[in-house]
Amino acid sequence: MTAVVGIDLGTTNSVIATLENGQPWVIPDEEGDFLLPSYVGMTDTGQLLVGQAARRQYAAAPERTVKSIKRQMGTDYTATLNDRTYRPQEISAILLRSLKQRAEAVLDEAVTQAVITVPAYFTDAQRQATKEAGEIAGFEVLQILNEPTAAALVFDVNSEETETVLVYDLGGGTFDVSIVEITGDVTEVLASHGNNRLGGDDFDRQLQRHLADRFFQTHNVEVPSDAATQARLLQAAEQAKIALSEHAFTTVREPFLVSQGETALHLETDMAREDFENLIKPLLKDTLGAIDRALEDASMTADDIDRAILVGGSTRIPLVQHLVEDHLPNTPVTSFEPDLCVGLGAALQAGVLSGAEVETVLVDVTPHSLGIAAVMDTPMGPMPGVFSTIIPRNSVIPTSRSEVYFTAMDRQEAVDVEVFQGENPLAQENVPLGSFRIEGLPPKPAGAVQVEVHFDFDLSGILTVTATEKGKGQQNTLVVNDAETGRLSSHDLRQSREAIASLFDLPAGLDDDDDDADAE
């Protein structure tokens, strides 16, 4: 039997874990490090750098180094490394392939099946891009699993009593909160909420701006906006942030940050933890609002939560712990392997899916509502473009739902079914997933023709929409997110896979110095 793996593809760090006798464990690299920094770079001679080696060159060569690519997943952003541009899924695929090689080297066998995690609040397009990244890296993606759900799977509750757990997951770039009920080996997600653009990266940038302000106050000179200087400042900010989780004060030193004529100007300033907390407090307040919204969706109050679990590197910040504790006054708040827990849970789920050496049952929900644009009668007359929800957010998946709609005009010949994902009452304000048309409707007065719209949402997030005219039976179907309508064709996928694979073949085995260790 070949090994299966679970992968936490993070904004700042990534983790790969596997199972042995039903127990998950994280696979370290050659130096014993569990975390792969989510950095991809090229040397000036075109050699691929992944992980620590790419991270080390970031401040010196930001134009040849990509970080935090997870934030761009599902967008048409491209990164340029030397002479080629890469889509976000390709950069992610490089990270995944590097993890795959690490696992194959340690386990000494081929690794092809994987569960990859994403933030619970990721949209359809972001999930699809992640799945494509897995395929480009040469994996068969068993499931795209929600991160807080994966974390919850790691918590064994050895009693048949139901325990209600709130998972607060604040990572490098994304935030999720999930409310999970654990009864023995059944893990049920009741509600998820989050923010796809909130995490440690934002705290770094706040601090980066603050350090630039301080530099200006000291020297009366602006920090230049060029990429290299800003990259140094950003790394200094990140280091200061990490130091302030341990200590109440830290000194930020970036000698020779700016040169003015003959003189070099240094950044040297003392930061108090309180200064940093004041910078990020407004951002963290949003996470407390998300807790309330998740509780509301689960029809619960803070008192119903038996315990809260903090996951993700940013939960090391003491202020995060304090805010969550104050917000849930009677709930014990604990932290457990904040960096590794998601990867371990992904490995468990991979075990379940590949042939059950693990007795765990998982019930998850979809975090966003799905529906179509419809005309609504209002006191001010008919209003088009109203979002009519068919699958409400936090529905258990897989699920199938139908709604019946009526024609809006006399002798209406066709209806356009436009599918959206989101929570805004105006359809156009939500994320469009696709559209199709049903033609040849019988010529009847408005409201006399019925069209049934059926949504089928499966475990991998593939949505199939079928619309049927109830009289004559005119029918049309749209499959959102399958191989046919996905963002990349199978031809593109194959090309990407070959291109990424060849990057790895170049340096492999040619030399053994430290910087190549991650890329092998």
Partner: protein, 97 residues
């Protein structure tokens, strides 16, 4: 006995705790990843039983009508209408005379 009771292997009048543990038993038998159709039916049955715990007792009791008015939608509608009849007092005076 309802279909939902049938599907979960429950007798009428099952307590919420019994309903939940029957649901969990069925989940283990028919996990979502390998038995999606069965899973959906089990989940639908569970939702039905969970949401009508009082059963037939007060079936004939009058039930209040509830209507949810989406405040966000009303506000946006209002803004649209205001936007489309954006007439200043000055314009109005000029038009009238």
């Amino acid at each position: 006995m309802s279909d939902s009771h049938d599907l979960l292997g429950l007798a009428p009048g099952a307590t919420p705790a019994e309903i939940k543990s029957a649901y969990h038993r069925k989940l283990k038998e028919f996990p979502a990843h390998s038995h999606p159709q069965e899973f959906k039916a089990i989940r639908a049955a569970y939702d039905t039983l969970r949401k009508s715990p009082q059963g037939l007792d007060d079936f004939f009791a009058p039930k209040p009508i509830t209507a949810d008015l989406d405040k966000a939608l009303v506000t946006q509608l209002e803004q649209r209408v205001r936007g489309s009849v954006d007439v200043t007092l000055e314009d109005l005076i000029l038009l009238t005379f």
